[in-house]
């Protein structure tokens, strides 16, 4: 069986500056892969390029998602096809209610899959259940998207959206940054709850701390815009111990 996500020699620049210099990566369905790497190695760029953020220039390579050319799809088409990006810095949107956004997103995905829209009552029931699981306060329902949320609340909100949208591929960009240990456990519990044979997860992280709670099938180290090394979860522990420098040296 072919992988859900196949990245082949992906090259991306921001302006004239190359950021990704030939990334090769395959994520089979049902697996959790972690992308680690030092600051500036291109981790977040990779996450954003997969989700379709404008501002990047594709200079080579391809990305096949679920048998389709991912890079030819608009951001909203990728979302509807089952790609979800959990943001490192979720934006605040004053004036747009949380539940409204959730429902609009949920129905956009359902419509794409040919399913009927869910009525408000049924949907609210689903949101309440997932909120309870993420230990989020009821008052969240009436608030604007991320407005006045703490860092931890914003990250929990990202995971809540993922639980409701049930993507095929979840890309979580530094979801662990800025979280205390309790919040990290709740977020990890949310991610683990959606692990399964029908879904793949790409964890982008700088530290191995989160991988204690979300155990990956595979760890890749991104250095200078290339995957310099891949291995099992013990690679993350080795990075924790030895830092990133030896990988760069080894790759060179």
């Amino acid at each position: 069986m072919s992988a859900l996500l196949v990245i082949d020699n992906l090259k991306v620049a921001v302006g004239d500056k190359p950021v990704l210099n030939g990334v090769n990566l395959a994520v089979p369905l049902g697996e959790v892969h972690a992308i680690m790497g030092p600051n500036g190695s291109g981790k977040s760029t990779l996450a954003h390029v997969l989700a379709g953020r404008p501002g990047y220039t594709l200079t080579g390579g391809s990305v096949i998602f679920d048998g389709r050319d991912l890079l030819s799809l608009a951001p909203e088409e990728r979302a509807r096809a089952g790609v979800f990006l959990g943001f490192q810095y979720p934006v605040e949107i004053p004036g747009v209610n949380n539940v409204y956004l959730l429902k609009a997103a949920f129905n956009a995905v359902r419509k794409h899959r040919g399913l009927p829209e869910v009525d408000a009552f049924e949907f609210l029931g689903l949101v309440r259940e997932k909120m309870k699981f993420m230990r989020m306060d009821e008052s969240f329902l009436g608030r604007a998207v991320n407005e006045g949320f703490s860092g931890g609340e914003k990250k929990r909100n990202e995971i809540l959206q993922m639980l409701i949208l049930e993507p095929k591929l979840a890309i979580l960009d530094e979801t662990d940054s800025g979280l205390d240990i309790d919040a990290l456990k709740i977020v990890a519990q949310g991610v683990n709850s959606v692990r399964g044979p029908e879904r793949s997860i790409l964890l982008v992280t700088h530290y191995q701390r989160m991988l204690d709670y979300i155990v990956p099938d595979c760890v890749h180290v991104l250095v200078n815009g290339r995957i310099a090394k891949s291995g099992d979860r013990t690679l993350a522990l080795e990075l924790e111990r030895r830092g990133y420098e030896w990988v760069s040296e080894e790759a060179a």
Partner: protein, 428 residues
């Protein structure tokens, strides 16, 4: 103002003067106004506070109101109530057609206008050149008196039906709220029969000690109309004047808002929104003068310009010497929703005392790309995402319009303006 325009105003006035009612404005005051206009001229876009206004229609306007012209009102068939906006629950409606009261289209009788001839004729303050034009030609007055007791709720509906090339209309509000009295006033301007009206409106408002006025002003004139409005208010001690200003219609609209906080602990709050599209111009100038201690002012403006529209808000706050303990807040934000649109927001602050608290912010820009991307990454299509963000941009100002019927009608009108898609309708 061109000499030709001044001459034409004087000539039109001379021809109409014998028929203009002196119970509305005395002949002496009308003469003075015409003289002053001749000397000062009407504003032109070279004037600092008028540079964003669109005054082009003036050259083609016939200034005399329909009531003093042969043939009377422009519309051949009398207006029916069905052609007007739905009434607002709990509000008595006074309808004025081309500036003149219409008993048939009103739900209540009005106070006797003759009385206002005996009342002191207050001189306009500040920039009042268009008010002078109103003085010269006004043929009726909406006179509202609220005295202490139950909250009074009144809707003034101004219907413009004349084509500007044939006649103009001069809404004139004279509002006094007595000590301790409370008034909710809705003022709406709509077009019927013609969408190319010239409306030159004047409002003179006085709030006595402890008086409270909440004033909802909605400008929904037709697509080719010009609306010019001059409002002056004074607020005595402990009085509170709150205005919600909504600009939706007209080709060219300009509001001049001048409020003087004359008594200690008085307050003025202006919450304004404008949604302009195509070739519309929505321009507002707001001046709040803190002339007494412990006074409070707030200006909130949200404007969206799409198409080739221009939206301008020039908000000025003056804190006079002696107005210690002043608290003044300004939040002015404009959103550019089209590559050829224009936004001009300008906060101005002039302080002549030390003990003040002023917070002022002004921004103008496009929709934030990172916010748009966030919505797209959740599967919303670009159109829906943009509409949602435009809607959200106006939401806090709309939410403060706390009359359900009115809020709903404004939301519907806004939804039409920013093309809210069917799947956003559940917001309404």
């Amino acid at each position: 103002m061109s000499t030709a325009l001044a001459t034409r105003i004087a000539e039109e006035y001379a021809a109409a003067s014998s028929e203009l009612p002196v119970r509305v404005v005395s002949a002496a005051r009308r003469e003075l106004a015409v003289k002053a206009l001749n000397a000062q001229g009407l504003p032109v876009t070279r004037d600092e506070n008028w540079k964003y206004a669109n005054l082009r229609a003036l050259e083609r306007v016939r200034f005399a109101p329909p009531s003093v012209q042969p043939g009377g009102t422009a519309s051949a068939t009398p207006l029916s109530a069905a052609a007007l906006p739905a009434p607002i629950a709990g509000y008595e409606r006074h309808t004025y057609v081309d500036g003149v009261f219409s008993a048939e289209l009103s739900s209540a009788a009005r106070a006797d206008v003759a009385e206002s001839a005996q009342t002191r004729e207050r001189a306009h303050s500040g920039d009042a050149r268009f008010a002078l034009l109103n003085d010269a030609f006004a043929d009726d007055t909406a006179r509202i008196r609220a005295s202490a007791g139950a909250l009074a709720c009144v809707e003034l509906l101004f219907v413009a039906s004349s084509e500007a090339a044939r006649a103009s209309s001069y809404p004139r509000l004279d509002v006094k709220v007595s000590a301790g009295a409370r008034l909710n006033l809705i003022e709406r301007h709509v077009s019927v029969a013609s969408d190319a009206n010239f409306v030159n409106s004047v409002a003179d408002i006085e709030l006595a000690s402890g008086a409270c006025l909440t004033h909802f002003r909605v400008q929904q004139l037709g697509a080719r109309a010009t609306w010019i409005d001059t409002l002056n208010a004074t607020v005595e001690a402990d009085g509170s004047y709150q205005q919600h200003l909504v600009h939706l219609g007209a080709l060219a609209a300009r509001s001049t808002y001048q409020v003087r906080l004359a008594g200690a602990r008085s307050a003025a709050r202006l919450h304004a929104l404008a949604a302009a599209d195509q070739h519309q111009t929505h321009d507002a100038y707001a001046l709040i003068e803190h002339a007494a201690p412990q006074t409070l002012s707030e200006q909130v403006f949200r404007g969206i310009a799409a198409g080739r529209a221009r939206v301008a808000f020039n908000g000025k706050v003056t804190v006079c010497a002696g107005a210690a303990g002043t608290d003044s807040r300004q939040s002015l934000r404009g959103l550019l929703a089209g590559p050829e649109a224009e936004i001009d927001v300008r906060p101005q602050l002039e302080i002549h005392t030390d003990d003040v608290r002023c917070s002022h912010g002004a921004t103008a820009g496009k929709l934030d790309d990172s916010v748009l991307f966030y919505l797209l990454s959740r599967g919303l299509d670009p159109d829906t995402a943009q509409q949602l963000l435009k809607w959200a941009f106006l939401a806090d100002v709309v939410a403060k319009i706390d009359i359900p019927d009115l809020k709903r009608s404004i939301e519907r009108a806004l939804a039409g303006r920013i093309d809210v898609a069917a799947d956003l309708k559940e917001l309404l």
